[in-house]
């Protein structure tokens, strides 16, 4: 029996990923060349997320075994990735907010508001000769503005993030309905749709956007002062403050960042559905938080992993795909999904956390 059962555990379960960073341990061999450092880096995130990798691989094996001809195709892979892309971009942003000790329940509502606002601008004010980039800017700006409101209320108004973003969830969706008059707004600009729904060398633009978001997110979190500050603020805000970090400003930035991610996601969903609607983005809050937490980011803040988040998103989307291919009925799917979530987390814990057991 582990001795620090609850010590490390905060609340039992608070421990998302108590796995030590193998990348750090690399320094034990300081003679390591840059080459091998890079391999080590790869190996490291592989090792840390080994449980997730195994879960995903198992899922794929099941997919291949049960629907091999249909699961294992390039087209199907792209279908999975395209579905993952919207929620993926949001989850990358969510990783920052959660690592920074916060939470955001309003992401889905912000996506809805962004999409509706952008399409309204497009249909109303815009003459046909205005470029679709205006739509993109509108969505991103609306997202950023909502994030700003969240961030300011949380950081400077000192209201619990849960409450602020719950209020934003209600308000943004209500506002989206008012703006759209509860109608689905159809996007007629073919250039916009063709651009975002197109492919670059066979890979859908949406998937490229997701990949870009993940890479940028990873760099930002792991390789910049911004990321370091985020983790410090999430880990111990008082210590961060006394080390001269502007905790409130940093907190506000995180929500704005997530707001921008929601704005981009709004553009993506607009392209995917060719519509703006106040019903877009339903339950995105749960989906994205689930992906982030399954990935190993600590819900209590202070530790975050973009790679884990990406795996989390992929696991959920692949799961749905495998279910669909196997023609499982919805209720059975729900039960199976519950069991698989638990199994995946236990696997990740046991595989990656073994070294940490006392």
């Amino acid at each position: 029996m582990s001795v620090d059962a609850t010590a490390q555990n905060g609340a039992p379960g608070r421990s998302g990923s108590p796995v030590p960073d193998p990348d750090r341990q690399q320094t034990v061999a300081p003679e390591a060349t840059h080459q091998s450092r890079f391999t080590a880096l790869l190996a490291s995130s592989f090792g840390r997320n080994l449980g997730l990798v195994i879960a995903l691989v198992l899922l794929c094996v099941v997919g291949l075994a049960t629907a091999g001809d249909r699961f294992g195709t390039f087209d199907n892979a792209m279908t999975i990735l395209r579905l993952a892309s919207v929620i993926g971009v949001i989850s990358v942003g969510m990783t920052f907010v959660i690592s920074g000790g916060g939470i955001d329940l309003s992401v889905g509502a912000i996506v809805a508001l962004g999409s509706v606002w952008a399409t309204t601008v497009a249909t109303q004010a815009m003459a046909a000769d205005v470029h679709w980039i205006v739509m993109v800017f509108t969505a991103v700006l609306v997202g950023a503005a909502c994030g700003l409101v969240n961030g300011v209320l949380i950081a400077y108004g000192r209201i619990a993030p849960f409450i602020v973003t719950l209020a934003m969830l209600a308000a943004a969706r209500g506002l989206a309905e008012i703006i759209a008059k509860r109608r689905t707004q159809i996007i007629t600009d073919r250039d916009f749709i063709d651009f975002f729904n197109g492919n670059v060398m066979g890979v859908p633009v949406l998937v490229i956007m997701f990949a870009l978001a993940a890479v940028v997110g990873w760099l930002l979190l792991n390789r910049t002062t911004f990321g370091r500050r985020t983790l410090a603020v999430g880990g111990n805000p008082e210590a961060a403050r006394l080390a001269g970090i502007k905790v409130q400003r940093q907190t506000a930035y995180l929500y704005i960042l997530l707001g921008v991610a929601c704005g981009i996601a709004a553009v993506m969903i607009m392209a995917r559905t060719t519509t703006g609607s106040s019903t877009h983005g339903q339950l995105y809050e749960l989906d994205s938080i689930a992906a982030v937490v399954i990935g190993g980011t600590l819900l209590s803040g202070g530790r975050g992993t973009i790679v884990g988040t990406v795996f989390g998103v992929l696991i959920f989307t692949t799961l749905t795909n495998v279910f669909t291919l196997n023609d499982l009925d919805t209720s059975t799917q729900a039960v199976a999904k519950g069991a698989i979530i638990i199994a995946a987390v236990l696997l990740q814990q046991r595989v990656a956390g073994r070294s940490h057991k006392t």
Binding site: R70, T73, D75, N76, T79, I80, R82, L83, V86, I87, R173, E177, R182, R183, T184, Q185, I186, I193, N197, I269, R272, T273, T274, T275, S277, S278, T279, H280, Q282, L283, T317, T320, N321, F323, T324, L325, D327, L328, D329, T330, Q333
Partner: protein, 318 residues
């Protein structure tokens, strides 16, 4: 066990349409079956497919997320199914992917919520939400006239307000009321569930001390609405329902409900049949036309005590 499939037992013109033909793979995708009407839609579609040995039926997880539903259609396209029966969470949002399916040579049957482009489906079966509101409103007008109400209080309990279909129903209702110079005095929106119906109706009853006519969009939430009436012991009004569950029909028989407007839960089942015919290149046997029509709008008839026996077998269990 479910009353939904019983329509198929109705007599029809002799044809070889039901004879096994070329194997047909049909993909079906609908919104989350989170209430009785949608549950009935799903099970009726499945039951209908089960009747044909030449149909291979694939269902995707019901969802209210347009993005997820799009990916399910994409999966069907990847699978190269022969036909897709699609009840979209939002017609406009699935137009693009449906068009893609059509372009891939798949016969798309659009059910209930209409696409925004005529090229997105080979055939469209509509339950006519606007018509449903009109039927309810017209019936309400008739009540006003029959009962000679001078300044009637008319209330509406809508379904999920953010859905375009709810807007269509409400607009139909309002338009029909306008015809007899009436308006909706109190309106609440529930969420198609029993519980939300009870909750919204409870508050609604407090909002108006006396009500003459209530139209409730959905008979599933109607169970809760009816219970709220019982709880508050308020039955002074004429209660009109929507969708046409067997409960509602029973209430009409028992005199607890004035009427209900049918919104057929068999649309998807019809869609499955049409999809099969489309792939096997058969026509509708009762039509002289040799091809399946492009558009079928189902009627939204009003069930009252007078005709309830005729519709009772159609009622779905909520």
């Amino acid at each position: 066990d479910d009353g939904t499939g019983s329509q198929s037992s109705a007599p029809r013109a002799a044809s070889d349409n039901d004879a096994p033909g070329k194997k047909v793979v049909i993909g079906f995708s609908g919104p989350a079956a989170d209430h009785g009407w949608l549950g009935a839609i799903n099970s009726a579609a499945k039951a209908e497919a089960g009747k044909y040995s030449d149909v291979e039926f694939r269902t995707a997880e019901g969802t209210n997320d347009a993005s997820l539903q799009i990916s399910q259609i994409e999966t069907f396209i990847n699978d190269k199914v022969d036909a897709i029966v699609l009840l979209p969470t939002d017609g406009a949002a699935l137009t693009e992917v449906a068009t893609k399916a059509m372009n891939a040579g798949i016969q798309v049957v659009n059910v209930d919520r209409e696409f925004s482009s005529p090229f997105a489906a080979r055939t469209t079966i509509l339950g006519d939400n606007y018509g449903m509101g009109v039927s309810a409103g017209t019936y309400a007008c008739k009540l006003v006239k029959d009962k000679n109400l001078s300044n009637p209080v008319i209330a509406e309990i809508a379904g999920i307000d953010a859905l375009p279909l709810t807007q269509d129903r409400s607009k139909g209702f309002a338009d029909a009321l306008k015809a007899c110079g009436q308006t909706v005095d109190n309106r609440v929106a529930a969420a198609f569930t029993v519980e939300s119906g009870e909750k919204e109706a409870s508050n609604l009853l407090q909002a108006a001390k006396k009500i003459d006519i209530i139209w409730n969009h959905d008979d599933d939430q109607g169970i809760g609405v009816m219970q709220a009436f019982d709880n508050a012991n308020r039955h002074e009004f004429a209660f009109i329902g929507g969708a046409g569950s067997s409960n509602a029909m029973q209430w009409i028989k028992d005199g607890k409900m004035e009427a209900t407007v049918i919104y057929p839960p068999t649309q998807a089942a019809d869609g499955v049949r049409l999809a099969r015919l489309l792939v096997q290149q058969k026509g509708l046997s009762d039509l002289v036309q040799v091809e399946v029509p492009r558009r079928i709008v189902l009627n939204a008839p009003v069930v009252t005590k007078a005709n309830v026996d005729k519709y009772l077998p159609l009622g779905f269990k909520s």
